[in-house]
């Protein structure tokens, strides 16, 4: 895995992203980069489903929100340190996703997609009615929660480094999966599920596993993100808009490639920033995202990376 330049590129970029705002002590830059990193994490993990296995997951934000809830709950009620709480959130959500996946992933194609559309709304309502997690008001973190990390200032920087680390891990995991036998099986499912099954790919198991794998890192990121925010409540945690935007990012950058979704996430973040500051367009954010998605699907289904790789095949060595 480490013989190709790509993983080293990821590590170098992550180090740069982590250290530049720290050295310059630029909090504004840090907050912008946190959002971009969360987008990259969501898009890169969603790509495991869309790009590799060819299955769209409309409710991908559920992992992020549930991981956030588990993590914040453990920190606030059980006084766990941040890192174990975040990892526990990731493992718990991943396990739930595996169980759910084994149930619904026997469904093929469109049926599966339909099941994921309802899940966001159902989980949001469930959490809203769940009193131990604060119901509709959610959970607030008190200032004491940041004390073990040396106060809020240090805690925010630590949370930032952890999110950047999760971003790098997402890209490395995506790269490792793509170059493994498991990844090959997923790509086969994406091409032709019947043929894959005939050739001995255990399709229901692989689909459940990739669904579960795509849940892990977004859940960890959710725990860290909402820890950093200091509050988690149902509407913010299960924001369907973000789920949708993650799909746009994957398609924009190029589904099925490792670097494409990250590139798409970054571009989308820039685009969104530009739109939000333009008065006339701030109301039409979802309209523009939707129009963009439609244009990509109809005319450039390979996204930006698909275009680049077709145009300059030599770049394949550098850009996975």
């Amino acid at each position: 895995m480490w013989r190709r330049p790509f993983p080293w590129l990821v590590v170098a970029v992550a180090l740069g992203v982590a250290l530049v705002p720290y050295w310059t002590d630029d909090v504004e830059l840090r907050e912008g980069l946190v959002l971009a990193a969360v987008y990259v994490i969501l898009a890169s993990n969603l790509n495991l489903m869309i790009g590799y296995a060819g299955y769209v997951n409309f409710g991908n934000i559920v992992f992020f929100g549930l991981g956030g809830y588990v993590g914040v709950y453990l920190v606030s009620e059980w006084h766990w340190p941040l890192l174990p709480a975040a990892i526990a959130g990731g493992l718990a959500v991943s396990a739930v996703a595996l169980l759910f996946g084994l149930g619904i992933l026997r469904l093929r194609g469109a049926f599966f997609a339909l099941a994921t559309i309802g899940i966001n709304e159902a989980v949001r309502q469930l959490v809203t009615n769940f009193e131990p997690w604060g119901g509709a008001t959610g959970i607030y973190l008190s200032f004491d929660a940041y004390a073990p990390l040396g106060g809020p200032m240090q805690a925010l920087w630590l949370a930032y480094f952890l999110i950047v680390a999760v971003m790098a891990l997402s890209l490395l995991a995506s790269y490792a999966i793509r170059n493994s036998k498991f990844g090959l099986g997923l790509l086969a499912i994406g091409q032709n599920e019947d043929a894959a099954a005939t050739l001995g790919v255990p399709t229901p198991l692989f689909k459940a596993l990739v669904y579960s794998a795509s849940a892990m890192l977004p859940a960890v990121a959710g725990a860290i993100y909402f820890f950093k925010l200091g509050i988690i409540e149902p509407t913010g945690a299960f924001n369907l808009g973000l789920s949708i935007e993650a799909i746009v990012m994957v398609m924009l950058g190029g589904q099925g490639t490792v670097i494409g979704p990250a590139l798409g996430a970054f571009l989308y973040e820039e685009l969104r920033g530009a739109l939000l500051t333009t008065e006339a367009f701030s109301h039409f954010q979802l309209v523009i995202a939707g129009a963009l998605l439609l244009l990509i699907v109809l005319f450039v289904p390979g996204g930006l990376m698909g275009f680049v790789r077709r145009r300059w095949p030599r770049l394949r060595w550098w850009l996975e």
């Binding site: 409309f58 469109a110 049926f111 899940i119 159902a122």
Partner: protein, 288 residues
């Protein structure tokens, strides 16, 4: 709570369920003919709702005159949508058609939100109800169920006794064979899509005569349509009507006992359970 009240709630649920069935028929028709799941279905239901609002509240026309108007304009809208967003993805992987129609939904809902915000709208339609004991069945619910039945009947007649209807069924069962027999299949596909959207729009109009609505209401009714389609078997319009009535029955049965906020959870649970146990639908009849 007395037995009569529960029974009345169930009967009322069945009346509303007929309208759910009508909405789901549009979804299932499009799937059956071109293997596309129309995720812009909810947006088209909202289109029908606002159609009623503008014709009845703003222009002052009689409420039920909106029914034929929303069928015709829904059909036109559907044909346009087919050429804009669906035509290029026919025969491509399911992923692409889901994403394309989903994108259309985002654009339409986004425009609707910018124009009308997300605050609730209400069109008051008054019709005399039928009293039974100390329970009154609302006139609008009865009228909506009757109209849903009539429209479903007309759809059946259209699909089985007109040339275009027969062509639509031919394309659904085998597009290549239909093309070889001289049927202009692309035009037929666009008409089938228009028909599906027309059904969504008219069911939206009927729902708006009964309940208040917002720009975002489409999502909830779209979820209901999916549940109904899965109950009835994808691609099976007659099953959709039965599935709708079944869903209405379940809703009527649960509403006296549970807060409304649980409805999406129950519906989603029902949906997943159905998909897992009866992937071809409970009311799945032999197709064709």
């Amino acid at each position: 709570m007395g037995m009569t009240a529960i029974l009345a709630s169930i009967l009322d649920g069945v009346l509303i369920g007929a309208v759910y069935g009508l909405a789901a028929m549009g979804l299932t028709l499009i799937w059956g003919v071109m293997n596309v799941i129309n995720l812009a279905h909810g947006a088209m239901i909202v289109f029908g709702m606002f159609g009623l609002y503008f014709l009845a509240s703003a222009l002052g026309l009689p409420a039920y005159s909106a029914v034929p108007i929303s069928i015709v304009s829904g059909f036109a809208c559907g044909v346009v949508l087919y050429w804009l967003a669906v035509h290029r993805i026919i025969g491509r992987p399911v992923l692409m058609s889901l994403l394309a129609t989903f994108a259309v939904n985002m654009v339409l809902v986004g425009i609707g939100t910018a124009l009308w915000t997300t605050s609730p709208f209400n069109v008051s339609v008054t019709l005399p109800g039928i009293t039974w004991g100390d329970y009154t069945f609302t006139g609008t619910h009865i009228m909506a169920a009757v109209l849903a039945g009539v429209i479903a009947g007309l759809l059946y007649l259209f699909l089985h006794h007109t040339r275009v209807g027969k062509a639509i069924r031919a394309v659904a069962s085998n597009r290549e064979a239909a093309e070889l027999s001289g049927i202009p299949t692309t035009q037929i596909l666009s008409m089938a899509f228009g028909l599906g959207v027309a059904l969504a729009a008219v069911s939206g109009t009927l729902i708006a005569t009964m309940f208040p609505f917002t720009v975002l209401s489409g999502d909830a009714y779209q979820l209901k349509s999916f549940v109904v389609t899965v109950l009835g078997g994808l691609g099976n319009p007659a099953g959709a009507l039965l599935g709708g009535i079944a869903l209405g029955l379940v809703e009527g049965l649960t509403t006296p006992f549970m807060p409304v906020s649980w409805t999406p959870i129950i519906e989603f649970g029902l949906f997943v359970l159905c998909l897992m146990t009866f992937p071809r639908g409970i009311f799945a009849l032999s197709k064709g």
